[in-house]
Symmetry: C2
Subunit: 409 residues, 2 copies
């Protein structure tokens, strides 16, 4: 049996241990939900304070004095290494849903003779909603087919324009093979758009070597940039001269301050900016990224796998047979979360929250726990499982007030 | 001749004078650019601090504990009185350009047999860009006609689906007659979408009595909610059951946490929420609105007109014949800014900025000055004109470094 002392020792040897002090997590906070909303870092808070001071003292002049106009590009370049992108391939703007809308329409225009978008029936639902919405705007009949992602090969043919997939499944934590799938899609002559919502800042991918066409990701999960933080769009350099921003705005114009009534896109990734995202929101991202710059994705990934391995091991040692571990054991197929299936998962998650362990319930039967190496300790994993053991031993998950939702499963 | 002493007296009698202390404007700051970016208020700063604290201490739990999910609607209800809207008719989300995109597509769907959008050739250019972009997504041929707004009657016919106009011209400061134009548009069987970017928080309109269909406005100008602050959408109650959000997302779903793969819109204005805007950005708006709640739009409008009247009077008294006052003298046709045409307007604005008076140059020949009653004093108007007199008397606007752009006019 793994002991708490062993976990304390792992923390003592952890090269990322010092980064926890960059955050201000409360005592006793066992936060396994950084895959939903990351915590505020001291540097994020300081950056928002700094930008409020800029706004206060320099008002409109700040746009030039502090380079606010270029912030979406500068932040994009700092996110680039997390996904193996190059400078000038990422811009931060809008929300993830709008990012997917824009990139989908841009991609459809590049495959004018094709009529199908393939996506995963288990995809995050808002991806499916927006794909179905913008499919109507392609100027030709385009159908969104929601398929079993394991049967992608059967559905790929010369009528498929675009494949949109989320790299890490938000329920199960399964990570798909970006390089293999991208190649498969390209062999069918289609383009690929990856949703990296549960990837960015959690596990490395290499969009350059995988020849990914388009990608998008959010700031509020593993990047810790705050609630409703703007999203990012990745457009591979080779595409940038060819594609259009389907929802253009003046900040993507070649000469924004000439106030021309005809839209003419600027060069490069900047054309995908429509209007300015909140500069305060971008400041939070700016500060949040400082923490990542004290380490790298290789170290983060290594600890992430160690944390999820430890959690799975502890759950199986201490609660044998109680849960089905839905998340793949194969490291290559694992994101940075562990999903445990249980017929009373709703009650399990609620009872844990009362004990200070924050995870998520995902219908119908999944208790989902995110593991974030920048601020989680090995001992936090141990203590969380200890609370889980208490919940199950005391039957707290079967409390009357959880019965209705437990029964739905 | 109007004296500085008279202006000091006007300030002494100004019922809004105390509101200046809600802001933290620097000594000697003569800020006539609140129509571009409003200043930060102490309450906006405090609200952002408060929300950062919520995020820090309660993490994901904040969404429920502090009602973050409802913030877009609660803020909408607080903006409603500024434009004569009712509770439940406004939601804050996205940027102004996306708001116009969504409302335009929603409107086009309600007039399926019509093929024309009319807009003002002098409209803010990004309105025109996005109208032209989304016109392609209507599922039928739709043309955007950019017309002289004074010739609207000639262009209205039974093929016009939508008229999109900005209430206050960003260059000239001319305010259109919302009620009259809306009625004219409705008589032709078309719908109207008003852009209230230069209206909201500056001058009252009454969308209810005018029977306005749709409107949108921004937070970063007169509302003082910060750079890139989210926009708002107004959808008249009668339309809310009929229209669809053309760019739907999970936060507008009837059951967002059921993760259904089929989109089903919720009731009311909330359906126009796609994904969450930045909660930090919304906090700034929350705090910014507190200042407005210490007064009302009638008092704000009264002082706004007094300030613009005073500015025009001082310019004409002290610099007779130097500028053409482009902004209408008729109060009913005036926004909250004054545009002065001058062949060397670029140099005039730049030289004024060096002297601490911030206005905007708008090509080809306009020096634009915004007047914001919450924090501007009558004596600020006097002192700004004094600096303008100095600039002209010294020929500072004709300095070598301004020659190229002065010559463009």
């Amino acid at each position: 049996m793994t002991t708490r002392e062993e976990c304390v020792e792992l923390d003592a040897k952890d090269p990322l241990a010092s980064l926890r002090s960059e955050f201000s997590l409360g005592d006793g906070e066992l936060y396994l939900d950084g895959n939903s909303l990351g915590p505020i870092s001291k540097s994020a808070r300081a950056a928002v304070d700094r930008v409020m001071g800029e706004w206060q003292s320099e008002l409109i002049r700040s746009w030039n004095l502090f380079g606010w106009m270029d912030t979406p590009l500068k932040l994009g370049d700092r996110i680039a290494p997390f996904i193996g992108a190059n400078p000038g391939e990422i811009v931060v703007a809008d929300t993830l849903t709008f990012a997917i809308a824009k990139l989908t329409l841009a991609a459809l225009e590049q495959r004018p003779d094709r009529h199908v978008i393939l996506t995963d029936v288990m995809n995050f639902h808002t991806d499916i909603y927006i794909l179905e919405a913008v499919a109507q705007y392609a100027g030709r009949p385009v159908t969104v087919k929601t398929i079993d992602r394991n049967e992608l090969a059967q559905h790929l043919n010369n009528d498929v324009a675009l494949v949109e997939l989320t790299h890490v499944d938000f329920r199960t934590g399964e990570a798909l093979d970006v390089a293999e799938i991208t190649q498969q899609v390209h062999e069918a002559g289609a383009l690929v758009l990856w949703d990296f919502a549960h990837t960015t800042g959690a596990l490395p991918v290499d969009v350059t070597s995988a020849k990914v066409d388009f990608a998008a990701g959010c700031g509020y999960k593993y990047l810790n940039a705050g609630p409703g933080s703007p999203a990012y769009m990745y457009v591979r350099k080779e595409w940038q001269d060819k594609v259009n921003n389907p929802l253009p705005g003046w900040l993507g114009h070649a000469r924004p301050f000439d106030f021309e009534i005809t839209y003419e896109a600027t060069q490069g990734i900047r054309k995908f900016v429509t209007s300015s995202p909140s500069i305060l929101a971008l400041a939070a991202l700016d500060g949040a990224l400082e923490v990542f710059e004290k380490t790298d994705m290789t170290a983060i990934r290594k600890k992430s796998l160690a944390l999820t391995d430890l959690f799975i091991k502890l759950v199986e040692e201490r609660l044998p047979g109680e849960f089905t571990v839905v998340t793949p054991r194969d490291h290559a197929k694992r994101g940075s979360q562990v999903a445990l299936a249980h017929s009373e998962a709703y009650g399990v998650v609620q009872a844990l929250i009362r004990r200070g362990v924050t995870g998520d319930f995902r219908a119908p039967d999944i208790a989902r726990f995110g593991f974030t190496p920048l601020y989680l300790r090995y001992v936090d994993v141990y203590d969380s499982v200890e609370q889980l053991v208490q919940v199950l031993n005391n039957g707290e998950h079967q409390a009357d007030e959880f019965k209705v939702r437990n029964a739905v499963t």
